[in-house]
Amino acid sequence: MTALVADAPVVDAVSVILLIPVVAGTLLAVLPGYWLTARLNVLATFLTLLAALSLFFFARPTSGQYLLVDDLNVVFVALNTFVGFTTSVFSASYIAHELEIGRLTPSYLRFYHAMYQVLMFAMNLALTANNIGLMWVAIELATLTTILMVGIYRTHEAIEAAWKYFILGSVGIALALFGTILIYLAAQPVMGSGLDAMVWTLLIDHVARFDPALLNVAFVFLLLGYGTKVGLAPLHAWLPDAHAEGPTPISAVLSGLLLNVALYAVLRFKMLLAANAKAIAPGPLMVTMGLGSLLFAAFMLYRRRDIKRMFAYSSIEHMGIITFAFGMGGPLANFAGLLHMTMHSLTKSAIFYSVGHIAQIKGTQKLADIRGLTETHPVLGWGLVLGVFAIAGMPPLGIFMSEFLVISSTFAREPLLAIPLVAGLLVAFGALLLRMNSVAFGDPLGSTKPAQASYVPLYAHLALVLGAGLYLPPPLVLWFQHVAGLLG
């Protein structure tokens, strides 16, 4: 269909992006059997990816009152759909094993796949929403979906994690909504009542004349509300358990995508606030929360015994870095933030792919019971090593570039801010390396049965990360630079 829409879209790509998951979700809810559903799931995500990519190559649909496509969210949508696709591939092989050992019953399988599509829909909606109310609804929908999927194993810990996530999430929901209402209140006197006062593209035009005090309070609530989803300390409490107890594909999606979506929302409102001269500067708040999350997570990494929970904390750490970068602002830091976000999504999901298979082989998530992987399962083991190095910002992998830019631009502008940043990175690296040493090296421990795993998603992500660390294609760079300019 994309061939037709060379300049005048008949069916605009956004609605396709949103429609495919809905249709697929309803189908998957009813269709039985693993073989078919898994492949349908992959197919649907793949089609969504195609539609998303078409946004780059063809004329964009004009943004209306509800939906919006601009440079900023196209990046997110593409990333979202891509990782959604690879994760569905990984999930196919992962779920097969889960069915084998009977952790998932067919009925729950149906539920799982349907939920997966709903989640994709919700996230894409949140990313393409032009209406801040709609964005709120979408993000909450995504949250509720993930809550259900986290609890899907219905073990004691899983339900507990889901419950924790649920309660903290709902409070977050409430705070974010209050913030949204306040934004409307600030807009209403200027732009009059009605839907227009919630349309982001119109808001950004008039925001300069809004009441700064209202905007400030609104931003505080939005930062806390959506920050809960981003997993910034001290609002992070749900995140580690949700990652640790849910199915690994969901952990991958959570770390790789949902956190980004929430951060995207925060960014949108940061842009609003930045456009109003008299309002409080959002930068310092974000920088503080970012640094706090980074340092906190860095220290929390040390005492971890559960491999998935450890990487969940590393997600908190990296969300902290990204928030810090966007808080610093400026072309370099914003560029670095965008790059870091992309790289972190790819890397962290790759790590969860390998961790998922490892946990399945060893039958445990306890770090203490996994050792010497590079001996017994070289492909998985070295994959994990690569992933850890990538996440730790080792060259020539992608995150090195972003961290290079963040640190250097910060140190040149605010030397004192860079010191805790560097310290946190070093501490976190110490913890990650310590665990990785024991997991990947030493005398093998635990089951050595060969893995029936699909290495394609894992190494595809790692290859992308490696490639990005060495060479960023100029169009992408221009794109990022433009977006960085938008973010101010």
């Binding site: 507990e160 409430a174 009542s193 006062a197 209202l214 005492r303």
Partner: protein
Amino acid sequence: MGSLDFDIAHLFAGGLVLVSFMMLYQDRLYALLNVFALHAFVLAFSVGWQAYIQDAPHLFITTALAIVFKGIIIPVALHRIIQRLGIHREIETVVGIGPTMLFGIGLVALSMAVMLRVTAEADRLAREDVALALSVVLLGLLMMVTRRNAVSQVVGFMSLENGLILAATGAKGMPLVVEMSVAFSILIAFIVIGIFLFRIRERFDTVDIQALDRFRGEQR
């Protein structure tokens, strides 16, 4: 709009804050539920009044929702749950009632201090209303963090959410208000069902360190 309209709306909003304080004051579950029902009714009146003066008929749906769902169904359901789980005794508060009240007053002062910086050309009603709504929200949160009992925490959450509805309706011509109130009602239903399903008796969470050590393999 005339000052009478404003005064009445203001009256309801202030009433809501007052009822929140009453809820903070309660230390028996049944009484708490009754007060919460009152909270819902006051909210309903306020919303209805807004619907009338903004002549926005769709807000009446919210009113009805508030009365039927929050004012009647939920309290009754919680009554049942309390009976089933046999926890109809005093609410264990984390800090005493007195300090909580004082802190609540502080919160109201804070929300005023924050909100009254809003320049006056922002519509006066909205300004006052939002200030009060903010204090209701904060009081709800305060209740959630000062009560150990699951039911009372749900009640706290619901009062928080009432504050949200108050703010939303106070904002003139705010779209999607009804949808949001519906969504929230569903959310609350989820929570209540969850409490009932997971047999969460005393607390929201059964987190205890031994359980963690055993299940999660985390070390303290």
